[in-house]
Symmetry: D3
Subunit: 134 residues, 6 copies
Amino acid sequence: MKVCRRETFNSAHRLFREDWSDEKNLEVFGKCSYPNFHGHNYILEVWVEGEIDPETGFVIDLKELKHIILGSVIERFDHRNLNLDCPEFKGINPTTENIARVIWNILREQLDHKFGIEVQLSETEKNKVFFNGN
Amino acid sequence: MKVCRRETFNSAHRLFREDWSDEKNLEVFGKCSYPNFHGHNYILEVWVEGEIDPETGFVIDLKELKHIILGSVIERFDHRNLNLDCPEFKGINPTTENIARVIWNILREQLDHKFGIEVQLSETEKNKVFFNGN
Amino acid sequence: MKVCRRETFNSAHRLFREDWSDEKNLEVFGKCSYPNFHGHNYILEVWVEGEIDPETGFVIDLKELKHIILGSVIERFDHRNLNLDCPEFKGINPTTENIARVIWNILREQLDHKFGIEVQLSETEKNKVFFNGN
Amino acid sequence: MKVCRRETFNSAHRLFREDWSDEKNLEVFGKCSYPNFHGHNYILEVWVEGEIDPETGFVIDLKELKHIILGSVIERFDHRNLNLDCPEFKGINPTTENIARVIWNILREQLDHKFGIEVQLSETEKNKVFFNGN
Amino acid sequence: MKVCRRETFNSAHRLFREDWSDEKNLEVFGKCSYPNFHGHNYILEVWVEGEIDPETGFVIDLKELKHIILGSVIERFDHRNLNLDCPEFKGINPTTENIARVIWNILREQLDHKFGIEVQLSETEKNKVFFNGN
Amino acid sequence: MKVCRRETFNSAHRLFREDWSDEKNLEVFGKCSYPNFHGHNYILEVWVEGEIDPETGFVIDLKELKHIILGSVIERFDHRNLNLDCPEFKGINPTTENIARVIWNILREQLDHKFGIEVQLSETEKNKVFFNGN
């Protein structure tokens, strides 16, 4: 049994490696590397896998999961520039894949290890990623 | 290969344990325990896993799957109060998890055992669950 | 120029006239009149029409509009039974049309009369209404 | 008769007046004024009103409308920082209202005056604006 | 007050004038003119404008509106080839504009003239039209 | 880690076996077998599973994946009649299951075998299939 909570955040970013020239960044990352940033409405789905608690009928209380996501993920990244404001991406290119992995790691520290965690993160209507820690 | 049919139903419910005081119900389930019920547009996705029948090109005829879902699930729960009208939830708190498990069990009796079954049930735009029988 | 804020609420209701017999209620309102209620995820769009304030670039601050909607509409109807809990529907059948009109009237009292107001309210994926006060 | 073409663009921005202190910007615009920008997946709907051409059955060829929108709007704003990269917002706070008005003015110059134009622009799933030139 | 019912139908069509050469059809209508047809999941929204009936709280019973739409529109066009199967498009290019106008005319004959009618028809996620009879 | 690219195509088709009578086709496939075809807006999600490249932060460059999907899948099937125009369905009934399998096989030849591939294909808002090659 898995349960899912959906939250959103709005951030600026650019794809970019400091150790590459601007030309190489542009060649590899295209307009995603433009120097003054662009941004996205990220849609985050957090899936938590576990047993149904026979007392409450919940795998996890989704109000509690919501507060964990808001406090540990949305608070950090919403209305922020992932490259400039977020030490989590120091030396890490903020691709959707890397953002999902960072979020998964944050949640892994917040949630009891009896729970499995899966993260789905949409960057646009056409691009999204999935990470389950493997 | 898996195929999916999506149907919806609109029900009233409250989260509530009879053996708890109103205070404890309110403390644990919050506004979901309010005594006069609230309701949801539940969105049900039923996934059926199997081989493609070489004669028809179908895993299962989705018209047939639709009729099974309508007859055995939607008919029971649509425009009903899950707590008051549905014996399936006698002594079972109608959380999304428990509703999904009840639906999975109903479908398991209706569908040939050569098929795997997965149920995804959305309660709101932000909350959903997944159950595959394990 | 019009701006829109979208919020949701989850309520139970039934369509029902006290002065009609159960048979007549069932005949006219069908399964929407079942006695123990059903419910919906209502989706509310509030459109506010006005001039752009040259100082802020806003017609109305959507944070402010959000707080007005949450405080005056969502707080009243979310996780409530419209028939039993909400005096606004005393003697008024809680059809989507009537709910939209009640919401429009509430917002009309909250918002400066320099603003036009339009309300769109979805009851299901297939049924919605629009009201602009006329 | 009106026809609509939907396109999207991803931009960074912040709400901010140069002639206000950082404190006042933060007070009025909240986290939307954070200095390092955030961003959105803007969804643009362009509605064109006119008569059906009896020869083609089109109000306007939507392929042509698409190319006009891509060439004159999306090309300018997609993957750009509205505050830093786009002279259209020199001295204009890039609120959704102002972006919609800028887009409407761009399209008004591109399209034959026999057509009426309406622009709907969504900034998030919850916030959107509508402008028809009045 | 306006109320809306949403229905869908799946049809094949091509854009094509018999009195034009294949070359001219291809030049004007592009891949939409390919000879063996393509198809769409059309999404139809029918809006009906009127007064709320004080007895029922309905502008129009949406169950009744649904049956009118299913019987007079969906039945005719669903799983059909608009060019070959539907006399409504004899000599009329089945553009989204023309389909919407044909549907509006059908509904105008079915619905009491005290009601205003608006039709919104989506051909793809990016293209849609609106017609209100003017 | 899995990444997903979403694309759409619009095709005509009918469900039909040449070696069956029209009556049997109609009995088994219902209105999906009508002789003059109908059509759909197919929504394709291609998921690619692999390791994050530490240099780019990508599992696969989604621009590259987009070009592969457009060039090898969309180009073939968009605005085409799957039964008449597409040799891939010679002797194969173009059910959603079979279309997904054909697409999976095409992509399997295009993508490095270090990647896992999953295909989700929606035929309507209510019907979709999933195939991962097993």
